[in-house]
Amino acid sequence: MDWNLLITQLLNGLQLGLLLFLLASGLTLIFGIMDFINLSHGSFYMIGAYFCGTVVAKTGSFLAGILFGLVGMFAVGALVEWFIARKLYRSDHLDHVLVTFGLILIFDTLVHLIWGAAGMAIPLPDVLNGQLTLGNLVFPVYRLLIILAGLLVAAILFILVTRTRLGMLIRAGASNRTMVEALGININRLFLVVFALGAAMAGLAGMLIAPITEASIGMGNDIIIVAFVVVIVGGIGSVKGAFYAALILGLIDTMSRSYLDVVLSLAMPVTYAETAAPALSSMLIYILMAAVLAFRPQGLFPPAGMK
């Protein structure tokens, strides 16, 4: 039993889960409160990585990259909300799909124009490049950092959503938008903040992963679907749901890629297991989504008050 592999994969699953959470939490709130489908959320992931990389290249400081990146992403999110999303809240979902699809094209090409077609590497400071040794087990320090950062953001988000007035408005908006409007709250500002916050978190996810994978054009377009699956499984509008669903799906996805062939070969000849496993492991999260929908179409942890 290769413990190192097991622990590493568990941590990788946790890391993926937390990155998915960063993406999905903004998405679920935007869907839940504004009923707005934002296909271009993955673009925020990409732009965040590029912002961070640019600042790191200029200043040499990863921390500066993150901080400026967050501020920049908040601004980008606010601009997109102001100029585009806001005009579409009363429109058909189809219009949302089309416009945000168009935004993906626009953002991808703008990134190409500004930063070129090749990806952008983000070098890490030496202190983050090392490895941590515990007995026989070895983990890269940076991956632990990602996990810690993800947990920290989750904690901050939790406090924000449950202990602050803004959080209360967010939760109310997710369950009953018309009532929040009727209470005379400045709904426009609430929407702007939610959107911008979501963009910032998506950007943060991009920034965190970029040192490992490089920032590249269109990097968000595939992971965004997994984020959608997380939102569905967790329940639209529910940050708690997004958290648990993200961790579950992240772990299942990562673990199944390493271990599904082993599991399957308990039930079938090894050669079948080895051909079936890659196909099955890539389908697994979707099968899970279908299963959740069959029995609990509102998701695992829907916001209170929604049926």
């Binding site: 296909l39 579409l88 189809l94 935004l103 090409t109 595939d222 569905i232 196909a279 979707y286």
Partner: protein
């Protein structure tokens, strides 16, 4: 001359069909075979867009996963060919049945949901198809699958040459246009269209809207798989890239350009899209930017796409009231 179309839009569409019919001979005469390729590809996509418009435009079911059926249709040609089974009827039967089966299962699950959920679920299922084909090393995975010979049909139905394949495409396109027209005006179509506008009302009238929509979804998937079968034959190369959700997004774009919930919209929209794509990419490598801006502008400012524009011309032509 009342048998001639009276409206501007009718005349435009008739003219288009009249030009499309002898197209291979026109292009041969002016020695531009490239345009025949371009047109073939456009008309294949048009079939897919006709099928998408059925559920999306007429039925209000916003599927962001329809490209999966193009992929399924294409692989139903590719995989048998890989094993040297070139029989066209086999390919046809496979494409129709596999797409129907997949649509039945995923549709049964997806159609229990609405709005945002439905859109995301259709996206997710098509990603699932994408990843499945991507992971099948045997059939090329990322590198794709090459087919060395087209689907075999009896000689009078052959699709071996560029021209004969074109007429396969043209015939199936005409059939789909006609079929959708009949379908929408039939009892079945009225339920689908009614459910798009007011599902609650339709249920109160006694219609089990879920069942009707599921059947509609399956019909649409089968039609789309025909496009996939034609595409596989046309390009001779089948890869998972045909399947991603971005492809599905492009299909929706084509529906909208032409005018959703119209009968000829899918045809003109697809031709416009393909021509635009072709010529814009000659101008600049950043043509996606223009496309994206057009899309945003179309939604924020355009009304009804090409058909909407032609209809407005009709109304103006009839005299301003």
């Amino acid at each position: 001359m009342t048998w001639l179309p009276q409206t501007i839009s009718g005349r435009v569409y008739t003219a288009i069909l009249l030009i499309l019919a002898p197209a291979p001979f026109i292009f041969e005469w002016i020695n531009q075979p490239f345009y025949l390729d371009l047109l073939s590809r456009a008309l294949i996509l048009a079939i897919a867009v006709v099928s998408l418009n059925l559920i999306l435009g007429f039925g209000g079911m916003i599927s962001l996963g329809h490209a999966a059926y193009i992929g399924i249709g294409a692989y139903c040609v590719g995989i048998p060919s890989y094993y040297d089974y070139y029989n066209g009827w086999l390919h046809l039967a496979l494409a129709l049945s596999v797409s129907a089966g997949f649509a039945l299962v995923t549709g049964a699950i997806s159609l229990r949901t609405k709005g945002v959920y439905f859109i995301m679920i259709t996206m997710a299922f098509s990603q699932m198809v994408y990843f499945t084909f991507l992971s099948l090393e045997e059939y090329g995975a990322d590198d794709g699958l090459v087919i060395y010979s087209r689907s075999e049909f009896p000689e009078w139905l052959t699709m071996d040459s560029g021209t004969s394949l074109y007429y396969w495409i043209f015939a199936l396109l005409l059939l789909s246009l006609f079929f959708v027209h009949r379908l929408v005006h039939s009892r079945f179509g009225r339920v689908i269209v009614g459910a798009k506008f007011n599902e609650q009302r339709m249920q109160a009238l006694g219609f089990n809207t879920y069942r009707y929509r599921l059947v509609c979804y399956v019909i649409s998937a089968m039609m789309c798989s025909l496009a996939g079968m034609l595409l596989g034959n046309f390009t001779g190369f089948i890869s998972p890239d045909m399947i991603g959700w971005a492809r599905s997004g492009e299909l929706i774009f084509m529906v909208i350009i032409g005018g959703s919930a119209t009968f000829f919209g899918p045809l003109v929209g697809t031709i416009a899209f393909v021509l635009l794509e072709e010529f814009l990419s000659l101008i600049t490598v950043y043509w996606h930017l223009i496309f994206g801006i057009m899309l945003v502008a179309l939604v924020l400012f355009g009304k009804g796409g090409i058909h909407g524009w032609l209809s407005r011309l009709d109304r103006k032509g009839a005299g301003d009231d």
